[in-house]
Structure formats: C-alpha cells, structure tokens
Symmetry: C2
Subunit: 386 residues, 2 copies
C-alpha cells in the first residue's frame, strides 16, 4: 500500500525496501526497532524513549507494522512512513500486553520456529527479555547486520544536517572562548554550553565536557565544582543533535587571566602541536579506499614518534549520524574501509594523568575527492584572558 | 574494603549492601548495571550512555566491580563508590573484549551453570546479547527484582532534589506564559522551553511538548511547524533532570491575542474543569495504604461521570526519580500500594481528536500525612494575550 507523497516518504520507502532486501540476504525473518536511530531512519518517527513499548516490526517480506502505545498514536500517525501508508499502525492500551501483540504479528509474518530476529542495538533489556520470553527458540541478533550498510553511507540531505549541526557547535565554541571563564566552575560553564547549543538550534545538548587544569587529562571528565583559574588549559568537548543529527567538536583553550606569565608551558605547546599534527595528518589521509585502522595508525604513529604513544588511550574516532557514535569506528583491528558518504570524528588526544590533557576533534565526511571537514572553528590553541 | 568517607559514600554503601541482600533473597547471583539510573543510584556514577560497555558487576556476596572503558577510568574513579573503595575499578582498552572480562569476573564470583543474573532494564540489546553469548545457560532477569523496593522509596535527599527540579520547571511555565506566543511555531516555543529549563539549572531538558490548537489532542505531540494563533489552547508538558532527578509538569494555556471573542468556549472550560477536578481529587486521595489502581480510578471515575471516560486514554501517572518514568505506575490492574516516600506524577487528561486536549500534571510525594505536591504553579487555565 506504499503511496509516497513527500520527499521524506520517498526516502523512508527506499530505506525500508533496502532493509527488507538486506534481511532476506542475511536470512533474518524480521527486524524489530524500538525508539531510537533505526526507527527514525526507517520511518522518520522521532519518539521519546520511555518504558512503554514502541516497536517497528519489519518482516523480510510484506507489510511493516508500527506498534505504539495508544497515547503516542497521534504522534506516530504523523510520521512520514505512516502518512505514506508504508507502515500499519497498531496502538495498544495501558492494560494490554504489547509483547504478545508483537509475537502475533510475527507469527502472521511466518516468523516461527527457530527464525532469526534482529533487534536494534539500543533496544532496552526490559523489552528484549520480554520479547525473548514470548518468542522462545528464536535466535536474536543485532539489526546492525541489516542496517549498517545503509546507515553508514550518508546521503546529501544527511550530510547537510551534519554540517548544520557542526557549524552550530563551532559558533558555541567561539562564544565560550569569547566569554568570562576565570572564577567560574566547570559545571557553570558546562551549563552555559548547553544553553548555547540549544540557542543555536540543537534540540538536545547531549554533552558539554569542560575539563580544566588537571581535569583536562580525563577524556570524558564530568564538569564539576573546580573553579577555573589563570594558567588553566581547558578541554571543551561539546555536542548534541540538530534535526536528529549529531554535532561533536573538541577545542583547546588556555586561560591566562591577562597575565603573560600564566601562558602555556613549552611542554604543553609541544603536546598540543603533536595532537594538532596527528589530527591534520589523519584528516588529510581521508579518502575512499583507506582502511579505518590505517587512518587510526596515521595519527597514532605521529603521537608515538613524539614520545606519547601510551597517552593516546582511545581510538581515533567514531562514526556519527542519527547516533552520536555509530559505524564506522576508526580503531586498530577494524577491517572497515572508508567509502564516500562515511561521516566520523577525528579526535586524537594525549592525556597526562594529574597534569593536563589535549584533544582536537572535528567531524569529517569522506567525499568523492577526499576529506570534507564539517567544522570550521580554527584548530589553534585559544589563549584567552578568560 | 569499604571505607566510606563522605555522606554520598555512606548512602551508596547502604544501597549496595541492601541490593546485595535483595539479590540473595531473590536467588540471583549478580546484578549487572550499565549506564543509567541503577548505576547512578548504586555508585553515584553518572556516565554518558555510549556504545562502549560500562558495567557494574555486583555479586550477591563479595566485592563489586565497575568495568569501564579506559578513557572513562578517570571519571569513574571520581564517583563516590570508587572514592570510598566500594567498587573495584577495571578498565578495558579499545581492542579488548569487555564481555569476556565480565564473564571472568562472574565466574570468579561463582556465577556459573544456570545462575540467575539480573540486568538493568535499560541495558541496550548490543550489551545484553553479547553477555548472553559469553554466559550461555544463565537465566537473565530484570534488576528491578532487586532494586525496585529500594528505589521506589525516596529518601529526604532525593525528595529535595525532586522538589528543586519541580520548582525550576514551575518557573519555566510562568516564563513561557508571560512571553510572546502568537505568530511563533510550536517548535520555536519548544526550543525556548529547553533553553529556559537549562537556564533554571537542569542539566538536560528531556522533553518540551508544545501542542497547540488541535495538536493539543495528541498527548505526546512532537512540536512542529504549526504557528500559534488567537483562539488556541496549548498543552505545555515539560521536564528534564536537575542533579539527576526528574521534573515533569503539564499546564494549560489559552491564547486570545487580546481579543475577548477568542477566549475559551464553554465546552473547553467544562472539559478543563473535569480534568482539574480529577487531578485534585486524586491528589487529595494520596496517602500510605491507598492502591495505585484505586488512585487511578478516583480520577477516572470523575472523568467518566463527566462523559469523557473514553477520552482519558492513558494511566493516571508514573513514578519519577533518577528515571523519568519508574515505579510506581498509577494504572488499572496494579497491585502496588502507596508508601511514604513514593514520588509520582498525577496527570489526568481528556483528548478529543481533531479538536483539543487538556492535561494537568504535578509531581506528588506520598508523605507520612498525605500528599506533598512538589509543583507550586497554579492549576488555573492561563488565559493570556500571547
């Protein structure tokens, strides 16, 4: 009953059809997607992740069903896939058992016996355990098997959304660097970052890491009561989502309080320079056909040669899209090879526990002719009065 | 090796010990908690929910382990449970297999054979399926079995945080009602709500429903391109987290544009009055010993008697704490009975598809002597020029 009526509907119709083909080729009988990126990708439906079951039941062949709580039905009906008649909407009431309902739909779709079912990677245990109970004997796997080849390649519309998110985050970095910092707690600056991300159009400010002084050595420092003072380095790693797509940028600040004697040390500048060179060399190496592991090694080799190999304690980067972290991962051991349309972070770092840390991160798209760096904020260490 | 050094550490030490006792009494050998409310409740550790495994392994007897990605180790070390030596921190590197590491810890703790393991309800399928694979034959259940009796009763400190979150949300409602509305899209007003929630101290603005005109009839309307105009009712249902604890309030606006002829109809006022009476009667009925289903029925009976029983399409309310929705649920069929320290929403609603909807929601604590309503924003329909 597909009757695509809008551009959005055409996009999701194509994604649903390609996912069904992928299900058939992997031998799975259905994909089950709860609230999250797969659901949004396949139907355009962006729902709150709460405890009631919302589930797209997409069989390898035949009509898809979107199971939703009654009170979400009106919102779900408005999603592109429902408007275009690409999914059959089924609402359940507060005292119904939605898992039995799903099992019934799957058995209508022929998914019995030892059938293989794929669930989205974010599906909460409360739902997965209940589904395993009503569907005994089935083999459960991850939906990534069917969706990764689609989702990993961003189309022009997705890249444009990633670009808008990146530019909004760039502006927030500039705003924070231009404002007062000294005498404020990390938590207070973090709150300002969140406000500014929303003011710049993000619907959610997912993280706002402000790691000052020695806290900069903790890559995912939780901003707290430490007061920023002259002579502090600051790791600013911020992001969220804009129209569903993620931003994620890291820049370095140094706060002097206007006192030239409180500037960065030679050692800090040398570490900063190493991280910057690692970032820029890895970015320059982005092109279709390059391995994700090889790209990680480009950055790692520079940091190793600079004597800080042990202090680069994480992978080079992660894919980004409807999920903040998704395929491809730029990590040692990966067999993934870059293709046009892959979007990912490049974020080498050096962390010296108890002293300081440095990270520089951009979102980069692998374009037909090489890297398309979505962030435009300069890489320079921002030495500010604060 | 417990050496509580702070009030926070004393709190988590007590929670860990009581959870271990609950595990023993339910016959489970361990609790596995990923990033989320259970982890925060038991360790004080608030982490980003990303794809790398972070997992508290709490055996029924013996020492707890907190498994974290290497780059999170410094942040995890700072959590109250780690600082107090209540958990043994184990960091894994990017190319390690963290699931094998967890299986090893469990086997050291004697969790072999057909042992029963409890996982937190929010644990994503990517982790649960991997754990099922490395721990074949184990029976997996929900951590709620061990934690619900603890988490459902809020202590004084938790109630104070819920109160601060509620008051902050109250202020945002007043700010939005005092501002311009006409000529703006729902999405734009929703963005302003998110900004204001953060400005009032929330670390996350989780939802900001602005349902105007006929969109007010969709309980969880996704704010969109509709422009607010004179004669519109607006459902404002907003909330987020402040110090980890949730806010959640719904108030009703009516926008006249300064034109007295564009005020609410008699029918709207009658529906509003019904919802208000349902809210206030259910709230007045809150006391220890009252059933959650009975409380739902107090509100439902009023709305039914007013002729709109079919239009109250959801339960009366949900518990709130570190999770936006948690036990107790005020719903028909529940066997739960209110106790002092239970915290929950009371939010009756009437939804007339294609026309309008009305909901009024407060967060209420069951105190020793009856209801303690955390929100202070008046219930009145806010008729504004807009």
């Amino acid at each position: 009953m597909a009757r695509p009526v809008t551009e959005e509907a055409t996009v999701v119709a194509d994604r649903l059809a390609r996912t069904q083909a992928a299900l058939r080729s992997t031998g799975a009988v259905a994909l089950l997607a709860g609230v999250g990126a797969d659901l949004r990708y396949l139907t355009g439906y962006s729902a709150h992740a709460l405890e009631r079951l919302t589930l797209l039941v997409l069989p390898a062949t035949g009509a898809a069903t979107l199971v939703v709580p009654r009170l979400e039905a009106m919102a779900a009906e408005a999603c592109p896939a429902a408007v275009a008649g690409l999914v059959d909407l089924v609402a359940w009431d507060e005292t119904d058992d939605p898992y039995a309902l799903v099992a019934g739909r799957l058995s209508d779709a022929g998914a019995s016996g030892a059938a293989r079912l794929l669930v989205d990677p974010g599906l909460p245990a409360r739902h997965l355990l209940a589904l395993e109970r009503v569907l005994p004997g089935r083999a459960f796997g991850l939906a990534t098997d069917a969706t990764r080849a689609l989702r990993i390649v961003k189309d022009a519309g997705e890249i444009e959304l990633l670009r808008r998110a990146a530019r909004a985050a760039d502006r927030v970095v500039a705003q924070i660097a231009a404002g007062r910092l000294i005498g404020r707690t990390e938590a207070d600056v973090s709150r300002e970052v969140r406000e500014r991300l929303v003011a710049e159009g993000h619907e959610a400010a997912s993280f706002a890491i402000v790691g000052s002084g020695p806290n900069s050595a903790s890559p995912h420092h939780d901003p707290g009561a430490r007061v920023i003072r002259p002579g502090d380095p600051i790791v600013l790693d911020i992001g969220g989502t804009l129209s569903g797509y993620g931003s994620d940028i890291t820049r370095m600040l140094w706060v002097t309080g206007g006192d030239p004697s409180r500037g960065p040390s030679e050692e800090f500048l040398a570490v900063f320079d190493l991280v910057r060179r690692a970032n820029e060399a890895a970015t320059a190496a982005v092109r279709a056909g390059v391995g994700c592991a090889a790209l990680d090694e480009v950055a790692r080799e520079i940091i190793r040669a600079g004597g800080h190999g042990d202090a680069f304690i994480h992978r080079l980067g992660h894919g980004i899209g409807l999920d903040a972290h998704e395929e491809p991962y730029l990590v040692a051991g990966s067999a993934e090879v870059l293709e046009p349309g892959h979007a990912f972070s490049i974020e080498p770092g050096i962390y010296l526990a108890g002293r300081f840390g440095v990270r520089l991160e951009d979102i980069v798209v692998c374009a037909a002719d090489g890297p398309d760096v979505l962030n435009r904020a300069p890489h320079d260490l921002m030495v500010v009065d604060g």
